[in-house]
Amino acid sequence: MSEISKVAYQVMWNRLISVVEEQAQALIRTSFSTSVREAGDLSAGVYNEKGLMLAQAVTGTPGHVNAMADAVAHFIRRIGRDNICEGDVYITNNPWEGTGHLHDITIVSPSFHQKKLVGFFACTAHVVDVGGRGFGADANSVYEEGLHIPIMKFVDRGTVNDTLEMIIRGNVREPDQLVGDIYALATCNEIGHRRLIDMMVEFKLADLAGISDFILTNSRQATLDKIAALPRAQAEGHMRIDGYSRPIDLCVKITIEEDGVLCDWAGTTGVDKNGINVPLVYTKAYTCYALKCAIAPEIPNNAASLEPFRITAPEHTIVNAVWPAPVALRHIIGHMVPDTIYDALDKILPGVAPAEGAGSLCNFQVSLRPRNDAAVPADAVRAEVLTFNSGGSGARPTLDGMNATAFPSGVMTMPVEATEQVGPVIVWRKELRPDSGGNGRQRGGLGQHMEVGAWEGYEFDMQAMFDRVHHPARGRRGGGAGAPTTIVLDDGTAMKGKGKQFVPHGRKVIMAFPGGAGYGAPGERRMESVERDLALGYITAEIAASEYGLSKERVAEVQAIARRGELPR
């Protein structure tokens, strides 16, 4: 294959990236889980025959970055090379060999060309339900969190494993949707496979050895070049967050070496007895993601570009929980990993890392049913509604934080009109939360207000998955903290940031999601920006005066201008 030109390799790399994007698109269009189709919580990748990842689709969730890179090696080991046949499809939802919790189903399909194994396709999707206690933090072990499917064949040489399908159907709340999603995952690998074979025919390839080598060598070198340009240094980062029933300390030490970046999570709090623990693979994903954003944002993810980022954590810390720790809501802690990394990285690379932000997504699930203290209406329905919402992101060294925009997760929210089509839920309010962005030379992004209730005649359980109630985002270099999360019933009854809580008929849950923190001292903020924020209602007159020193007269002038629909200056 030495005749293949440099130009051909350029084209093929390009093509493989397009193949995985197409694979991901196919999944978004056929899956049933709102988390996949609306929020973009999925991944897709192509691998060589050794199981090394060559390309991965850029989707809404960095949480699958390393998990996907590692997964195929587990499949090869468990299935056994001799047992890998044309027409096979493999499955698992093992949190430690897949992507971190039972709700992620990973499907791997071997690719054969001219009877020879040439590579693999893998994809992952967050499904609605896997049985057990349902999606939440309340379990005390992984056994309570749902059905576990160890790595096995879902399709053996073209024949679907009906026994497995029956077991799955018998153990989950939405069997049609889950099985539909499994088929959607298999189909998306099949689409990737067909495109790969087209490419191999076009370029007359017998295997992927040449193109793998080209991709991996160039990616490794590019990553190493970026790392070589950094100062050799070591720094520690720390962040305290709410946890479930006790605060959690996240501690990391970053060491920049010549040929890699080491991150060690020693010193971090031990595993929790509730389902917010994180398998190491997921910690690695968010650690790596945070570092890549800061150091090598344009290098695509593959086995070689990820390898120089080496991540370790002592077993039984909350960031390296082992079987059978409960892990369903591993994202809450996982989403806090980047801010902890940036606390350390800011000491090595000043002027790159943003201030802390909302961190984890502000998700909640409501389980609606007819009220149990009155006659049930004739056409009563029940419904499970999971929503994805974002607080504010942290201010950047030269830019304000983003309002109600997720970071590090990139998933999307659902339109309220679509949410309300799902069941008897009413979202009474979903809008920006003034004064929630941390003050600073650069202001933190605003969080948001949400109010949720049910139709007349219904009550519900609220499964809360919030952090930053007691530990709001901290500012950087003199910037102020973001506003904390608040949650309460409309009659004033207090509610907790995490766990399932009953909401009686007629009541609403009033929530305010956290803002991002500020960057730099508020006194250094340009007055035009302060006046603009006031005119837009991002900050109130009180904050404009007390934090930024805007005079009473000017406040009144700006407010008058804003009322005329104009902006100052």
């Binding site: 293949i4 030109s5 440099k6 051909a8 084209v11 390009n14 093509r15 397009s18 197409e22 698109q25 196919a26 269009r29 056929t30 709102t34 609306e38 809404g60 960095p62 049609d176 949707q177 099985v179 539909g180 189909t187 689409i191 025919v201 076009e202 370029f203 007359k204 160039n218 070049d225 954003c293 090598a296 944002p297 290098i299 890392a353 974002s390 950047r396 830019l399 983003m402 109600a404 925009t405 990139g410 999307m412 929210t413 339109p415 009109e417 679509a418 089509q421 009413i426 309010r429 979903k430 809008e431 920006l432 005119a535 837009l536 209602g537 804003a562 005329r564 629909g565 104009e566 902006l567």
Partner: protein, 708 residues
């Protein structure tokens, strides 16, 4: 439509205003520089030019069809009117919060696009409907009256009204409308339940705001234009091209100017569809490549594919999500940042990247010799011998090949250890691959296999790249029509009067409500046909019915076409059958278990297509003797080849040219790779075909091998 007399097609583009006059089957065209301050000036000048070319009086023009980028540009450049939004309390920030996600995952310094209206122009009223259209909180009229006074004081010119769930029940929107109409005479009002009655508040509100925002500007422009044309003696009716590929009356366009967004490219697709019909090509991929972007569209059975939502004003490298959604019926096109001016560089992985950054016209590609030091696609085409530097644009622009070679050497070759020719090959291959990937993804998303498709290539850069693109996509046939430089304006003259009405209504097939469906279809058909009648059309009107369906629980709907009988008999079992057929076509298999449901309903009314005169088949073809010889780099073979060279004008119908060959015309150059031959057809189209039939039957094997 059969209209007697001359018809004028006018397309205002970013750089040029194209004007085409058609009379008795003959066409006369001209390009005038767009006059931004008063766009009608260029139209008037162009009209006089083509009239004198054709020897007709302005007064004998029977009809003018107009398409324009003005609406799109006003949105991109934020030059709209002072506009307010009135929305449901608790939802002031819908257009600012968007989807709450980042469109670029790895950029810590990403910035979000600014909403069309700043927060202090967004007002709320206390009211609420639920998803079934039942009133949860009634609207208080006095609150609206107070708000109206506030709006008057602030001096708004235009007001958008967007309330939650108004696509099911528009009563509150209407009530606000009535109060405003009474209290704010002269202020323009747009209702979300009229502009885009579809579920999903972000898209609906943004579309309604966009409509309000450009309405005063477009309305005054259209009124002015009509006056100017009348003053010049053209008092004929004027119609507007809309984004869905049809034409609407000046009055409808003034009321719903958001429907004019992307009308130019829509004209291009209609142009290609017409060529497809003339040649009896049921499956066509239209490929329009200009200076900064390439646009790709699927055309089946002579009808361009349509969609319900698209994105305009992307702010970040053409990235999905970085613009704003507009939900109106639109021709479904993929636009990528790949054109003659797209710049190439080498990234940190030693990969060649091309676009979306463009050299523009100043300084332009390096070969223009105006100080551009970075290589563009045009530079690669010069070095590869595809463009003759001494004969570019009919010799009006002198190109400097050594500047191209130097730029390629410096930016590409020097970093990858390649000579300038190999670098140019790499750049051309990468840009062609980008376009091929976009076409493949678009085809897959629509359940199509491109190997049975014919390409129709137009736009200045398309014929240079079409041959290679066909090789990459396994497409066996490509037509390059004449007049491709003013394709959109010609397309306007081919477009039917049409209007598509859409509604959101969720209905599972198991709870199919025949009466309600019949009522809904009646109402939509009335709306759509009324819009067509308002164009003064009294003949036959055709209606197409379409429903968007999915399995309950999915989030992605697929369009299912219904015949008039199927729609009117409203039989759920027939609809299910049609849905399952489409689903299998797209995704390979149906899904056991979940029920099918309909989410969006659509009726399109249009005038019947002009009877298309099929192009007469050639009786004989004659190989053309090679005149001058040139050489170019054949990317598929990976080497330079000796090629014949021809002027397009010197190739009458029946001429056959075998690749490798170069066919030059004033506006562009057709590159015929070694794998292809070309025949001039009776209508002047150059028909590019595969040299010999593929040996293997398997589609993948039919694709030619690349440079091995």
């Amino acid at each position: 439509m059969s209209i007697l007399g001359a018809r004028l097609g006018v397309d205002i583009g970013g750089t040029f205003t194209d004007v085409v006059l058609q009379r008795d089957g003959k066409r006369f065209s001209t390009k005038v520089l767009t006059t931004y301050a008063a766009p009608e000036d260029a139209i008037i000048e162009g009209m006089h030019r083509v009239c004198s070319k054709a020897g007709v009086q302005v007064s004998s023009i029977a009809q003018i069809i107009h398409g324009t980028t003005l609406a799109t540009n006003a949105l991109i450049e934020r030059r709209g009117a002072k506009t307010a939004l009135i929305t449901t309390e608790g939802f002031r920030d819908v257009i600012e919060m968007r989807t709450e996600s980042r469109f670029e995952q790895y950029d810590l310094n990403m910035t979000l696009p600014q909403p069309l209206l700043p927060r202090n122009r967004r007002y709320t009223v206390r009211e609420r409907m639920d998803a079934r259209g039942q009133v949860l909180i009634p609207l208080d009229r006095t609150e609206v009256e107070t708000l109206a006074d506030e709006l008057r004081e602030a001096g708004y010119e235009s007001v958008a009204i967007g309330l939650l769930h108004s696509y099911v029940n528009d009563a509150h929107e209407r009530m606000i409308h009535d109060v405003l109409a009474e209290r704010l005479p002269g202020v323009m009002i747009s209702l979300s339940s009229e502009v885009s009655p579809q579920m999903r508040e972000y898209e609906r509100f943004n579309t309604t705001i966009a409509n309000s925002y450009i309405k005063p500007l477009m309305k005054s422009y259209l009124v002015r234009l009509k006056g100017r044309l009348e003053a010049e003696g053209a008092s004929c009716p004027i119609f507007l091209m809309h984004s869905g590929g049809g034409i609407i009356s000046l009055e409808s366009a003034s009321e719903f100017p958001v429907r004019l967004v992307e009308s130019g490219p829509a004209g291009g697709a209609v142009f290609a569809a017409h060529i497809a019909a003339q040649h009896g090509l049921a499956k066509v991929l239209s490929f329009d490549m200009g200076g900064t972007t390439a646009k790709i569209c699927l055309i089946k059975n002579y009808t361009p594919k349509t969609a319900r939502v698209f994105e305009v004003a992307r702010t970040y490298r053409f990235k999905k999500g970085s613009g704003m959604p507009i939900s109106i019926p639109v021709i479904d096109m993929v636009e990528i940042g790949a054109g003659g001016g797209s710049l190439a560089h080498v990234d940190s992985m030693k990969q060649i990247r091309v676009g979306p950054e463009s050299a523009g016209s100043e300084p332009g590609p390096a070969c223009y010799g105006r100080g551009g030091k970075r290589p563009a696609v045009t530079d690669a085409d010069v070095v590869l011998g595809k463009i003759d530097p001494d004969n570019f644009a009919a010799g009006t622009i002198k190109l400097f090949a050594d500047e191209s070679a130097a730029a390629l050497k410096a930016e590409i070759g020097g970093k990858l250890g390649m000579g300038s020719e190999e670098s140019a090959w790499g750049v051309a291959e990468v840009v062609d691959e980008n376009m091929a990937n976009a076409a493949r993804v678009h085809a897959v998303e629509n359940g199509e296999d491109l190997s049975g498709y014919t390409m129709i290539a137009f736009g200045g850069a398309a014929p240079l790249h079409a041959g290679r693109l066909c090789e990459k996509l396994g497409i066996e046939r490509c037509l390059v029509p004449p007049g491709a430089g003013v394709g959109s304006a010609i397309g306007f003259l081919r477009a039917p009067f049409s209007f598509e009405a859409n509604r959101t209504l969720f209905m599972r097939l198991s709870r199919f409500d025949t009466q309600r469906v019949t009522r809904l279809f009646d109402e939509m058909e009335l709306e759509a046909t009324r819009a067509v009648r308002s164009c003064g059309w009294s003949g036959e009107i055709l209606t197409d019915y379409k429903v968007y369906m999915r399995y309950a629980g999915q989030g992605w709907e697929i369009p299912v076409m219904l015949t008039s009988e199927e729609a009117r008999s409203a039989d759920p079992s027939v609809i299910l059958q049609r849905f399952e057929h489409e689903y299998v076509n797209l995704f390979g298999r149906t899904v056991r278990g979940p029920e099918a449901e309909i989410t969006v309903w659509s009726v399109n009314a249009q005038t019947p297509a002009t009877s298309v005169a099929p192009v007469e088949a050639l009786s004989v073809t004659r190989p053309v003797a090679t005149r001058t010889a040139r050489s170019f780099f054949d990317a598929g073979l990976g080497k330079r080849v000796e090629a014949s060279a021809h002027d397009r004008d010197a190739l009458p119908a029946g001429s056959e040219v075998s690749g490798p060959s170069i066919i030059t015309e004033d506006e562009t150059t057709i590159i015929l790779p070694s794998s292809r031959l070309a025949v001039t057809l009776n209508d002047g189209c150059i028909d590019i075909r595969l040299q010999q039939a593929p040996k293997a039957s398997h589609a993948a094997n039919a694709k030619e091998a690349a440079h091995v």
